[in-house]
């Protein structure tokens, strides 16, 4: 049995576009569920999606628990041994309160990659495979969230390139979710059921392409 940890924010949690953090797609419809279905038996998929999660930042409004770096270490330890860690984060780092360019979000992601490598919680204390997934770009109209995400839309288009540069530098797998999915018009930054389906299928193919014995 191989184990994959899916580490992300509300778009991994499966929050329904335009809904509240409590409105969540069922496991079968969320991308980790689609990934599980596509990979079939022999794979154990762990979901770790938290609404509002950032890469490395304590959120002064939502709380320190939204910091993706502090939670990642105990989370990895809880689920070891891990064959693959998929990380899809970055959107929440673009909130106006953090005032960060896309390149700094990528730097934060780099920290998570270093932490995973340092802990080496893969099989037999090896470094697990790591796959960085850049989220699909936000739409221009983010409805009520316009002020919270002031200036984020433009930056969200830069995440894919910045993440790929980081993934290449640190030599980890990379996938651009924007190539198979878009954000839903209802709120402009969450992905809908169709996008979850497409992303789960695409990631399954990426996971297979890594090559496993």
């Amino acid at each position: 049995m191989r184990t994959i940890l899916c580490y992300g924010d509300s778009n991994t949690h499966g929050q329904i576009p335009g809904g509240t953090p409590l409105d969540r797609y069922t496991f079968e419809r969320r991308w980790p569920g689609v990934l599980a279905r596509e990979l079939g038996t022999g794979w154990h998929i762990i979901e770790e999606g938290l609404s509002g999660r950032t890469t490395v930042r304590d959120d002064p409004i939502e709380g320190a628990m939204k910091n993706g770096r502090t939670y990642l270490r105990p989370c990895l330890m809880s689920h070891t041994p891990l064959d693959l860690v998929i990380i899809m984060l970055g959107t929440n780092d673009l909130k106006a309160r953090f005032n960060q360019p896309a390149s700094e979000v990528a730097m934060g992601l780099g920290c998570l990659i270093h932490d995973i490598k340092e802990l080496a919680l893969g099989p037999s204390c090896t470094v697990p495979e790591i796959m960085i997934v850049s989220p699909p770009p936000m739409l221009d109209d983010v409805k009520d969230w316009q002020n919270i995400f002031k200036g984020a839309q433009q930056k969200s288009h830069e995440l894919a390139l910045q993440f790929e540069i980081m993934a290449d530098s640190l030599e980890v797998h990379f996938f651009d979710a924007g190539t198979v999915s878009t954000c839903d018009r209802l709120d402009g930054f969450h992905i809908n059921g169709e996008a979850h389906e497409n992303l789960g299928v695409a990631l399954a193919r990426e996971v297979e392409a890594i090559g496993w014995k």
Binding site: L39, G42, A106, M107, G110, C111, H114, E129, I130, E164, I165, M166, A167, D168, S169, L170, E171, V172, H173, F174, R205, E208, A209, I210, G211, W212, K213
Partner: protein, 363 residues
Amino acid sequence: MPDMRFAPPNPLRIADRSSGLNAVSVRSHNERLVLSLLLQKSATTRLEIGEQTGLSAQTVSVLVRSLEQEGLVAKGEAQKGRVGPPTVPLTLNPEGAFSIGISVGNRHTDIVLIDFVGKIRFHKTLPNPQLAHGSNHSDFLETIARAVKLLPDAERDRLAGVGLALPRHLSGGMDDEAYFEALQAEIEEQLGIAVFVQNDITAAASGESMFGAAKTQSDYMFFYLGANLHGRLILNHQIYNGNSTVSFDVGISALERKLIRQGKEVEALWDRVGVWPDYGEVISEWKEPLIDQMNDSLNAISQFVEIETVFLSSYAPERVCQEICRKLEAANPNIRASAGNIAGSPKAVGAASLPFSSRFMVS
């Protein structure tokens, strides 16, 4: 001292996102390793690449992604295995790179344009250019410029270069290497295309090894049947050029002389279309010393290495080559002989393989 883990990212390759082929200088050794495997096999997987290079799955992933973005590598459809997870084959993208090969033969110059998997997209045979001795290879330059024009404008930046295969006698007794280098410099300066020059028989051997019948073999004796018979020894994929100028006058020139003595038409002998008229008994008479010579060469080499595989490459009709191979096998039961399968002009295709091996493979 800052913590270097958090220094600005330093990507392997991704910084260069231009649409064409990347400059030679930025192609890393590891990337060449991956491309070498792909040029040696028709399809592989990321897992196989990792096993054969010792690179981690993540490093292979970065390299392959970059090669995919550059358009050199294509991802295939996942194939479900009987056991275990499906495998995803990787292949070279045929449209990823092109190369022009030019070989100067006894009488004709062959020009081919091949794609990244060795498919001949264009083949033209011209009378030999006249070489003004010492300098000014204007006929060559014109011929190459014509070959470049065969490529549509949009694909022009995917041209890996021009390979030039020259026979030994063209250098007119000068030191081969110095002559080739001078010629190469002149072409590059005037046309602005990277030119790779090699001895023609060695080029034919590289072509057969990269794109032809010898693709899967690592150790074999390679014979080229042109006007004369030439040989090259290949050990562990390396072609041994040697410093010997030896070739044997038992080739197509010898056949031509026999036919002329009998008053027969000989033009078809030098034709690239690969059909000879029925020459009758003359062919068998001609083959005998040819096969004896091949066998002598094999016996001589057998003092040093055991060779079990022989490839015979030629623009002569495939049927003729196959008959020679059968006879050689009958004369020497220890070997398996096969005809090369690069039709038309093995030397020109070999020449075209040079820019690929120089730009994309590990040496």
